[in-house]
C-alpha cells in the first residue's frame, strides 16, 4: 500500500521540518498561548467560585452578563487551541473552510432547534 506520509521532498510532509531558529519562534507562540489559556481559566474559576448565581432563590440580575462572558471566553480558548495548538491557522484556506463551515452550519441549526423546542416544553411542563 502506498502511503503519502512517506513522501520525501514534498512541501507538506518532510519539509514541514524546521530549523532551530524557527523552532524558537514557534515555542514563543506556544508559551504565549499557554499563559493566555491559564489566565483565562483562573479568571473563570475565581468568578465561578465566588460570584453567586442565585440569591434568595432568584437568579441574580448580573448573572446573564457573567454567563455570556464565560461562553465568550470559552470560544476564545477554543479558537486558540484549534488555530495555534492544532495549527489549523497554518493550513490552507480551503481546508479551514472545509472543516469549519459545515460544522458551524450544523451546530447553529442544532442550537436553533434546541432553543425552539425546549422553550416549548418549558411552557408545557412548567406553565
Amino acid at each position: 500500500m502506498e502511503r503519502d506520509d512517506l513522501i520525501r521532498d514534498n512541501e507538506y510532509s518532510l519539509s514541514a521540518n524546521h530549523d532551530a531558529a524557527h523552532g524558537q519562534e514557534i515555542r514563543k507562540t506556544i508559551w504565549f498561548v499557554t499563559i493566555l489559556l491559564t489566565v483565562i481559566t483562573i479568571v473563570e474559576v475565581l468568578t465561578g467560585a465566588f460570584v453567586k448565581q442565585y440569591s434568595g432563590g432568584e437568579v441574580n440580575g448580573y448573572w446573564p452578563f457573567i454567563k455570556w462572558s464565560f461562553i465568550v471566553l470559552t470560544l476564545v480558548k477554543a479558537g486558540y487551541i484549534v488555530l495555534k495548538f492544532m495549527h489549523l491557522g497554518d493550513e490552507t484556506k480551503s481546508f479551514k473552510y472545509i472543516l469549519l463551515v459545515p460544522y458551524f452550519i450544523f451546530i447553529a441549526y442544532l442550537i436553533f432547534i434546541l432553543v425552539t423546542e425546549s422553550s416549548y416544553w418549558n411552557t408545557i411542563l412548567f406553565p
Binding site: 502506498e2 502511503r3 503519502d4 506520509d5 512517506l6 513522501i7 520525501r8 514534498n10 512541501e11 507538506y12 510532509s13 518532510l14 514541514a16 521540518n17 524546521h18 532551530a20 523552532g23 514557534i26 515555542r27 506556544i30 498561548v33 499557554t34 489559556l37 481559566t41 483562573i42 473563570e44 474559576v45 465561578g48 467560585a49 453567586k52 448565581q53 442565585y54 434568595g56 432563590g57 432568584e58 441574580n60 454567563k67 461562553i71 470559552t74 477554543a78 487551541i81 484549534v82 495548538f85 492544532m86 493550513e91 490552507t92 481546508f95 472545509i98 472543516l99 460544522y103 450544523f106 451546530i107 442544532l110 442550537i111 432553543v115 425546549s118 422553550s119 418549558n122 411542563l125 412548567f126
Partner: protein, 277 residues
C-alpha cells in the same frame, strides 16, 4: 537517508501535483475524524442544553463540585480547576513534542511525549475520583421536607440539631425550624436521596437527567482521554524504538497530537457548561 519504508512520488500518490490541501492523507483523515467527533460532542452538549433549558432550574456547579481530595468540602470548583490545568499543560507538552519532532529532536519528543502521557493519566485518575465523589454524595444526603428538597449539612440526633441548605442562595435553616423539618421528613418518610445514580440524584432530586448527562458526557470525554493516553503511549514506544527516525519525519506525533488537542478542546466546553455556567 535510507529507510525500509517504501517512498512514493507525490504525483503518483495523488494523481496530480500533490494533495489539494497541501496536507498529507493521514493528517487530513485525522481532521475529518475529529470533525465527526466534534459533531458528536456538539450534539451531546446540545442535548444537555435542551434539558437544562426545558427544566429552567438547574443545580449550581460550585455547590455540587466543591470537594478536594484529603481536604473535604468547601472548595468550590478548585479540584476541577486543577484537572483543567493539568489537561491544558498536557496539551502544551504535546505541542512541544510536535515542535521537537519537526526539528528531528528525538530526545525532545520522548521527554515531552512522556510528560503528556503522565498528564493524561493524572487527568483520568482525577476524573475517577470526581465520579466516585459524585456517586457517593454528601455526608447525609438530601431530604424532602415541607419546604422542598434540602441538603442536610449537619445532624446531631441527641442534641436535636439539623441544618438544611435549600440552595439557590436561600438562607441556611437551622435551630428549632431545622430540627422540625428533619424530624417531620423522617417520621413521614417523605423522601431521602444520597449520592447519584441513573434514576435519581441528590443534587437535583427532580431532574434525573442532571446525573445522566454528567455520566454520559464526562464519561464519553474521559473515554477519549483514556484512548488518547493509550495512543500516545503507543507512539511514544515507536519513537523510542526509532520507527520515525527511519521514516525521516515525526508526522505520527503530529497526528496523535491533533487528537490530544481535540480532547483538551472538548474539555474546555464541558468545563464551561457543566461547572461554570
Amino acid at each position: 537517508m535510507a529507510g525500509h519504508a517504501k517512498e512514493v512520488d507525490a504525483a503518483a500518490a495523488w494523481g496530480g501535483d500533490g494533495s489539494p490541501f497541501r496536507i498529507s492523507y493521514g493528517k487530513q483523515m485525522m481532521w475529518f475524524f475529529l470533525l465527526s467527533d466534534a459533531l458528536t460532542f456538539g450534539a451531546l452538549l446540545t442535548a444537555y442544553g435542551f434539558f437544562r433549558h426545558q427544566y429552567g432550574s438547574w443545580p449550581v456547579g460550585e455547590e455540587v463540585f466543591n470537594a478536594m481530595p484529603f481536604l473535604g468540602n468547601g472548595y468550590p470548583l478548585m479540584y476541577v480547576a486543577l484537572m483543567t490545568f493539568i489537561l491544558i499543560v498536557s496539551s502544551v507538552t504535546m505541542v512541544l513534542a510536535v515542535e521537537a519532532g519537526h526539528r528531528l529532536d528525538k530526545k525532545g519528543v520522548i521527554k515531552w511525549l512522556t510528560l503528556t502521557v503522565i498528564g493524561g493519566a493524572f487527568f483520568v485518575g482525577s476524573q475517577a475520583w470526581e465520579w466516585y465523589h459524585f456517586i457517593h454524595g454528601s455526608h447525609f444526603g438530601t431530604f424532602l421536607t415541607t419546604e422542598g428538597w434540602g441538603t442536610l449539612l449537619e445532624l446531631d440526633i441527641d442534641k436535636q440539631i439539623a441544618v438544611f441548605d435549600f440552595h439557590h442562595g436561600r438562607d441556611i435553616v437551622d435551630g428549632a425550624k431545622g430540627w422540625e423539618l428533619y424530624s417531620h421528613s423522617v417520621a413521614e418518610n417523605m423522601g431521602h436521596i444520597q449520592g447519584a445514580g441513573m434514576t435519581e440524584n441528590e443534587y437535583a432530586p427532580m431532574i434525573p437527567q442532571f446525573a445522566n448527562l454528567f455520566f454520559f458526557i464526562t464519561g464519553f470525554h474521559g473515554f477519549h482521554v483514556f484512548s488518547g493516553v493509550v495512543i500516545n503511549l503507543i507512539i511514544l514506544i515507536n519513537v523510542v524504538k526509532g520507527v520515525y527516525d527511519e521514516r525521516g519525519h515525526f508526522e505520527m506525533v503530529e497526528k496523535v497530537g491533533l487528537y490530544w488537542h481535540f480532547v483538551d478542546l472538548v474539555w474546555v466546553f464541558v468545563f464551561t457548561f457543566f461547572y461554570l455556567v
